[in-house]
């Protein structure tokens, strides 16, 4: 597997050399690209409302917990965290049909899963209370669907929304940043707790940007069981 990554990295490196300067691959998708979803809040970001928290992907935080919390998603933080006070209204990121609330989709204490017509599902986790929506109910993009909560259910521990985008088969997690239209570069000015993305020192350029993060397959082997990780992580339990 590692050799595949190395090969891919070399291939990308070779391709980069062929691309005109300042239009490099690995850069954000062009602004003209249409992204199907919107942010899960109807209020603008800021210190009063919400801010970006942990990114999707191969974060240092996920790496440190790759064998426990994030093992199901190949060692990735397979969603996007938004820091928000308990009770902050959450809106549907796209038109869809509610699959259910408080189902077996993780992110306790309450969650909500919505199926969209474009092949994706959105999962809203760590909610304050069980959403009042019923399975089969239609929702529209921007419609309030839930209230943000706290995984520890205290509202002063680490209140945030955990948002996942999964494929329609519920087997794959993808990077929400590539599907949600937003000014991610500005949001990231105040995001990213910790030290960013974990490095594989055999291929340290891999997966180091917001946009360039791998998909996660449920139950598949870890993607980041590195022989030479940086920074190293230890079990402090």
């Amino acid at each position: 597997m590692r050799s595949v990554f190395l090969y891919c990295g070399m291939l990308v490196f070779t391709l980069l050399a062929l691309v005109p300067q300042n239009t490099l691959a690995g850069s954000p998708p062009p602004q003209t690209e249409t992204k199907p979803f919107i942010l899960p809040f109807d209020s603008p970001p800021g210190p009063v409302t919400w801010l970006l928290g942990q990114m999707y992907g191969n974060t240092t935080g996920a790496y440190g917990n790759r064998r426990n919390f994030y093992a199901a998603g190949q060692g990735l933080h397979f969603g996007l965290d938004f820091s928000a006070a308990c009770g902050t209204p959450i809106v549907a990121i796209g038109d869809g049909v509610v699959i259910g609330a408080d189902g077996p989709w993780g992110s306790a204490p309450h969650n909500l899963l919505i199926n969209h017509a474009n092949g994706w599902m959105s999962m809203y986790g760590h909610l304050l209370e069980k959403p009042k929506l019923k399975a089969g109910e239609r929702v529209q993009q921007g419609q309030p669907v839930a209230l943000s909560g706290d995984p520890d259910a205290t509202c002063h521990s680490r209140p945030h929304l955990h948002l996942e985008i999964r494929d329609a088969k519920n087997t794959k997690f993808v990077n929400p940043i590539n599907l949600i239209a937003a000014d991610w570069d500005t949001l990231a000015l105040f995001g990213q707790f910790g030290r960013g993305f974990e490095r594989d020192l055999d291929n340290p350029r891999q997966w180091q940007t917001l946009y360039d993060q791998p998909d996660g397959l449920r139950g598949a082997p870890l993607l980041n069981e590195y022989a030479k990780p940086w920074p190293p992580a230890f079990d402090f339990r």
Binding site: L6, M10, F13, L16, A17, Q21, N22, T23, L24, A25, G26, S27, P28, P44, P45, G46, P47, V48, L51, S83, A84, A85, D152, T154, H156, S157, R158, P159, D183, D185, T186, L187, A188, L189, F190, G191, Q192, R195, G196, F197, R199, L201, D202, N203, P204, R205, Q208, T209, L210, K228, W230, P231, P232, F234, D235, F236, R237
Partner: protein
């Protein structure tokens, strides 16, 4: 919107008073001198030696820099995230492995030779700003290495990173058992001589820790004082007399940034029950002169009185660097309005001399340099 050259401080809606706070101080018998000579680090091991194993990497084909006298591309290939500065502010370092056969290591690009990186050292570590110490966390104990002669000691702290006092005589670190619920985690702040000897507990907080040294004797610390409160307190702890000076107490402290001389502290409050408190603040480290600023954004200090910040303005066509002087209250824009760039991943850093900024450009994921006057 941002206006240049204005007084940015607004009257603090609820400016926290300078106050003593009561965290659990662990009695110690420390009598560490304030400015002794650096300890000898006598426990020598097979430390990496030279830091000048320079190996020129293939230089990419030079291409014209974007037409700006003060904004220039420093690296290409999208290689270099999390850059940091050499002490002389003349080169930038980053972790890389530029080709399949090149070693992984810390590479350096000199400002006078953009796009030509060279291996600085294969010893990947966390370095001090002065590059005089490196540390490599390891379960058996963090390896603390003096760069000048490679002398190394192991700090028996389970692999936690340490913070070194400005006079290079002492270290501190925070020990927190990662138990649940998170809010009840007990954090113990440990102090030792720089060789790891004489470790001692100095303070305990709930779910907090030490942010860093303000000077040779004062630490910036945060945490909850007890389980009876949900608020965290940011305070200054003086190792000489064990005094604790409160800077602010709030539900959500997001960023704490001491100025380079330790005189001032910048911090942000978010999601506070009192909305008027949320935002960017500065206060003196003696607990006085707290003020909420009428702008918001990430900051980095340029010196002991001025910081640089990037206004947090969603959907603005570009980012910009501004400077705020805490002594005068003046704000001024450092990048011209026609200079279009956005920072990727919030990845930017100010040079030690305060004259330059290096950042990852969101347009190409390359390092770019912004010279300041």
């Amino acid at each position: 919107m941002h206006r240049d050259s204005r007084r940015a401080a607004s009257p603090p809606p609820s400016a926290p008073p300078a106050a003593k706070v009561a965290f659990t101080t662990v009695p110690t018998s420390t009598s560490v001198p304030t400015r002794p000579n650096a300890s000898p680090l006598s426990q020598t091991t097979d430390t990496p030696t030279s830091t000048s194993t320079s190996t020129n990497t293939p230089a990419p084909t030079p291409t014209p820099t974007r037409p700006s006298a003060q904004l220039s591309q420093l690296m290409d290939g999208g290689c270099c995230v999390s850059p940091f500065w050499a002490p002389d502010s003349q080169s930038v370092l980053f972790i890389d492995k530029p080709t399949a056969t090149a070693p992984a290591g810390i590479y350096r690009v000199r400002l006078e030779r953009p796009r030509q990186s060279e291996l600085w050292t294969e010893r990947i570590a966390f370095y001090t700003r002065e590059l005089d110490y490196a540390q490599i966390p390891a379960q058996a104990g963090t390896r603390l290495i003096r760069v000048s002669d490679g002398q190394e000691v192991r700090i028996k702290n389970g692999g936690r990173t340490v913070q070194i006092s400005p006079d290079r005589t002492r270290i501190v670190w925070t020990e927190t058992r990662e138990t649940f619920p998170i809010e009840n985690r007990v954090s113990t702040i440990m102090l030792a001589k720089i060789d790891g000897s004489e470790p001692q507990r100095v303070l305990q907080t709930l779910r907090g820790g030490v942010s860093g040294w303000l000077d040779d004797n004062r630490l910036l610390v945060s945490g909850r004082a007890s389980r009876d409160t949900t608020a965290s307190t940011l305070f200054v702890y003086d190792l000489r007399d064990e005094s604790q000076t409160e800077i602010v107490r709030a539900e959500r402290l997001r960023l704490t940034a001491p100025s380079r001389g330790g005189t001032w502290i910048g911090y942000t409050l978010t999601s506070d029950p009192d909305p008027a408190r949320n935002g960017l603040w500065v206060a003196r480290s003696d607990g006085t002169d707290a003020r909420k600023l009428d702008f918001f954004g990430p900051l980095q200090w340029r010196d002991d009185a001025r910081f640089i910040y990037v206004p947090f303005e969603m959907d603005a066509p570009m980012h910009a660097f501004y400077e705020y002087d805490v002594t005068t209250g003046e704000t001024r824009r450092l990048t011209p309005p026609d200079q279009t760039f956005k920072i990727a991943s919030g990845d930017w850093t100010v040079s030690p001399d305060g004259s330059k900024i290096v950042f990852v450009n969101a347009a190409d994921n390359n390092l770019w340099l912004r010279q300041l006057e």
